[in-house]
């Protein structure tokens, strides 16, 4: 083994100590930066794959027995609302949707529903009490339509502009401020 002169060893040890502390700090900072992403974040806050792309086809029989085709509503701004009668927050947001359609319908807003994994009887009675329109809700008993739209859960609402492109997605119940911020700018004045 090569002998190391004493004073050089002392100086080298100091240098090693400083290096060690510097290395430790860097590793610590890197570990903190990586692991703290996601601390305090809402796990449902995931981006939709559909925003900015043409809306998927939406065609099917409605709660009233007729048929509905989203493509027929091209030229209108459409809120596609995924809901179910057994879902509490969906029940709470229905009045808001009905009111929005009444207020902004003249400016080109339409509301279309996807009634997913639901019982038809309960759904129809809920719409009757809240003033919703059963001819505007597509029935989706197995949930295939919801999967087609990349739906995470109920309630969920997609904003489709007049050209049929998805412009936004809200996970959870709608609020009037969301409508003001996202929907109103797309409507005709």
């Amino acid at each position: 083994m090569t002998a190391v002169p004493v004073d050089a060893a002392g100086g080298r040890r100091l240098g090693r100590g400083a290096l060690g502390v510097a290395l430790a700090l860097c590793i610590a900072a890197a570990a903190w930066a990586v692991f703290s992403t996601g601390l305090g974040r809402d796990p449902r806050d995931v981006p939709s794959g559909l925003v900015g792309r043409p809306a998927p086809a939406l065609r099917g029989s409605t709660l009233a027995g007729g048929t509905l085709d989203l493509a027929a509503l091209r030229g209108k701004v459409v809120l596609v609302n995924v809901w179910a009668a057994w879902c509490g927050p969906c029940r709470d947001e229905l009045p808001l949707l009905t009111a929005a359609e009444r207020a902004l319908g003249g400016r080109g807003l339409r509301v279309v529903g996807i009634d997913t994994r639901d019982g038809a009887r309960q759904a129809k009675s809920l719409l009757a009490t809240s003033g919703g329109d059963p001819t505007m809700s597509v029935v989706d008993p197995v949930g295939r339509v919801a999967v087609d739209w990349g739906v995470l859960g109920v309630p969920e609402t997609f904003l489709v502009d007049a050209d049929g492109v998805v412009q936004g997605r809200q996970v959870g119940p709608l609020t009037s401020s969301w409508i003001d911020r996202n929907v109103v700018p797309l409507l005709s004045p």
Binding site: R16, G20, A28, V34, F35, P43
Partner: protein, 657 residues
């Protein structure tokens, strides 16, 4: 009242841990260890007091305490009320503290015989970790917070955690395993701080590492069994982040157990072993953090809380501190001698380390990658079972191969032809196994290879034992004495048992992953479902409303008797619990679950599977744990014979006469 007692106990624990740290540092500088030992007992008393306080609050249904309000319930059976202590975040921290303090007290009792100078510094490290966790439990975890107005009842623990008595065993066992890894960490840090470059720290920590390793092995296998038999999604390992968190320290601890065998024979791999000891406990801390912070989505993870950042701080402190210590002191180590000849046991053990660490790296990367990708590029990704199922098996096969090779290679250099000759019989058996399985129609190259390699390992062990037995008999010993000589002592037998267990586990895992046949079908009463030629007929569908839930049972008639699978829905918590029905035989399990029930209750969607060799997996887990315990079992040290005392007077008398 109870809440105040509990919070006081936690505060007392923090003070005791800090005092213990102070006292052990003083003892390391030449002071008396007795004070430090007493203060360590105080730490245990405080942890036990806090646990007792929370258990008391749970058992008395004191819903004014926040933890009880969130996790207690009047209609929960007593056993599950007791286990609900560790069913949620804040209480689990208290159990963690109890196990940590128990280790501290047991370690404090006696300094290790061959390394007494490392004892006090190691105890100081243990006390520091204890203080950190007491601080987290006291300030960030809010087990004893008050709730007003006091609710009249609570929701009870998650129904998934009230379903089986094993809930009382699995988390404590895992914690014993995790905290066992604190011992090599503490002794490694002590060796670095005192500048001791020998393998004394390894000898001092060895038994404790084995205790922790055995407990961790048992805990992991028990967790897999729980997922299979109680949770009922059909498998036993989902590469869930919390499962990975328990696997990572096990992998590095296994590597540590093997590479320290090299260092005890010759002064090499010293920096490597110190780093491994540090990495193992840091992985335990990272796992604790991942489980409790909610940063990675997992079915097991506790809810988000301020405990998350606090635990991250502990991880970062431990990682940074140990790294600094390593770099600062690594010059003391000097040069390592070589590992040995290219073909030698040392090389084989180093290869074992390489494979184990590559596997650990892959699992860690996959688990943490969603965080990493988001931190560096903002992309949201998920990494799940398909990724790990692709990356892990080749490394597992490499590990089995090394397990077959390494015990046969001599320590002091060997030649390839000599090794080949020793392996001839085991390899022949392995090739025959591969041939038979492949020709018999078993699909999957990996699975067939795994069975072949497992056969090589077991045959090698048996052949080696037989050879030693023959030598011992030839030297004239009776059967019992010869067998005991051939087995070679507890360390050897323990290691062999653990190897047999791992080989069996490898075969069982390969068989059950590749050759499981499952079928899912909508059945009405009287219909049949079949898998792998086994028919199961649905004979009854029963619906029942229990106190807290609605359950539907499907009764299936199979060649092994009646199986009743149930699906229970707990509306208060929105939890769906699927209870599988399992019929076990040595060849495999019949596994039935109810996936869905039609609204009219007249038909049910049933999944029926035939899972080969799953019971062998549980047996393998038991063998591995038993092997570890046996290897670490203390040997009664025979006292050296006392030399005769010569009394000068007698000699004079003789001379005079």
């Amino acid at each position: 009242m109870t809440a105040h007692l509990g919070a006081t106990a936690l505060a007392a624990g923090l003070v005791a841990a800090l005092l213990a740290l102070w006292s052990w540092v003083a003892a390391a500088r030449g002071g008396d260890a007795r004070t430090a030992r007493r203060v360590t007992w105080l730490m245990l008393a405080a942890a036990a007091g806090a646990c007792a306080a929370l258990e008391w609050a749970l058992l008395r249904h004191d819903f004014g305490v926040r933890f009880v309000a969130d996790n207690g319930g009047r209609d929960v059976p007593v056993y599950y009320t007791v286990t609900s202590l560790w069913s949620a975040l804040e209480g689990s921290l208290l159990l963690w503290l109890l196990v940590l303090s128990s280790y501290a007290v047991l370690l404090a009792r006696r300094a290790p015989a061959r390394a007494p100078h490392l004892h006090a510094p190691a105890m100081a490290v243990v006390s520091a970790v204890g203080a950190a966790f007491f601080a987290v439990a006291l300030f960030a975890g809010n087990a004893f917070g008050r709730v007003t107005p006091v609710p009249s009842d609570g929701p009870g623990p998650n129904p998934l955690l009230q379903h089986h008595p094993a809930m009382g065993v699995h988390p404590p066992l895992l914690y014993v395993g995790f905290l066992g890894m604190l011992v090599p960490f503490a002794y490694a840090a002590a060796a670095l701080v005192t500048g001791d470059t020998s393998s004394a720290w390894i000898t001092a920590a060895r038994r404790w590492t084995l205790v922790g390793w055995s407990a961790l092995s048992a805990g992991i296998v028990l967790g897999a069994w729980w997922a299979y038999a109680v949770l009922g999604w059909g498998g036993y390992w989902g590469w869930d982040p919390v499962e990975n968190a328990s696997l990572l320290p096990w992998l590095t601890a296994t590597a540590l157990l093997h590479s320290t065998m090299v260092q005890t024979r010759r002064p090499t791999l010293r920096l490597w072993n110190l780093s491994l000891a540090g990495a193992t406990f840091v992985l335990v801390l990272i796992g604790t953090f991942l489980t409790r912070s909610g940063v990675v989505a997992s079915v097991h993870s506790f809810t988000q809380s301020p405990v998350g950042p606090a635990l991250l701080a502990i991880v970062v402190a431990a990682l940074g501190g140990f790294t600094a210590l390593l770099v600062w002191r690594s010059d003391r180590l000097g040069a390592d001698v070589g590992i040995g000849a290219p073909v030698s046991r040392g090389t084989a053990l180093l290869a074992n380390n390489l494979v184990l660490l590559a596997l650990a790296f892959t699992v860690l990367l996959g688990t943490v990658y969603p965080l990493l990708a988001e931190a560096l590029s903002g992309a949201r990704l998920s990494v799940g079972a398909p990724y790990f199922d692709r990356m892990a098996p080749p490394l597992g096969l490499a590990l089995l191969l090394l397990m077959a090779l390494a015990p046969v290679v001599h320590w002091d250099g060997d030649t390839a032809p000599a090794v080949a000759r020793r392996l001839a019989l085991p390899v022949a058996v392995g090739l025959a196994t591969v041939a038979v399985l492949g020709v018999a129609g078993r699909a999957g190259v990996g699975a067939v290879l795994a069975c072949g390699l497992g056969a090589v390992v077991v045959t090698g062990i048996v052949a080696d034992l037989a050879g030693r037995l023959r030598v011992a008999r030839r030297s004239g010993l009776g059967w019992i004495a010869a067998t005991s000589k051939a087995l070679g002592g507890r360390r050897r037998v323990g290691g062999l048992l653990a190897h047999v267990g791992i080989a069996l586990a490898g075969v069982a895992i390969a068989a059950s992953s590749s050759w499981t046949v499952a079928n899912e079908q909508q059945l009405r009463v009287g219909d049949s479902i079949s898998a792998a030629g086994v028919h199961a007929r649905l004979v009854d569908i029963q619906r029942r409303r229990t106190g807290t839930g609605m359950s539907t049972r499907a009764v299936l008639e199979t060649p092994r008797g009646r199986l009743t699978a149930a699906l229970t829905f707990f509306p208060k918590r929105g939890v769906l619990l699927s209870s599988p029905a399992i019929a076990s035989r040595p060849s495999g399990d019949y596994y039935a679950t109810v996936v869905q029930v039609a609204d009219d209750g007249r038909s049910a969607r049933v999944r029926f599977a035939v899972d080969p060799l799953v019971p062998e997996l549980w047996l393998a887990g038991a063998l591995v744990a038993a092997g570890g315990v046996l290897a670490g079992w203390p040997v009664r040290r025979r006292r050296p014979p006392v030399p005769p005392v010569t009394i000068p007077a007698q000699r004079e008398l003789v001379v005079v006469r």
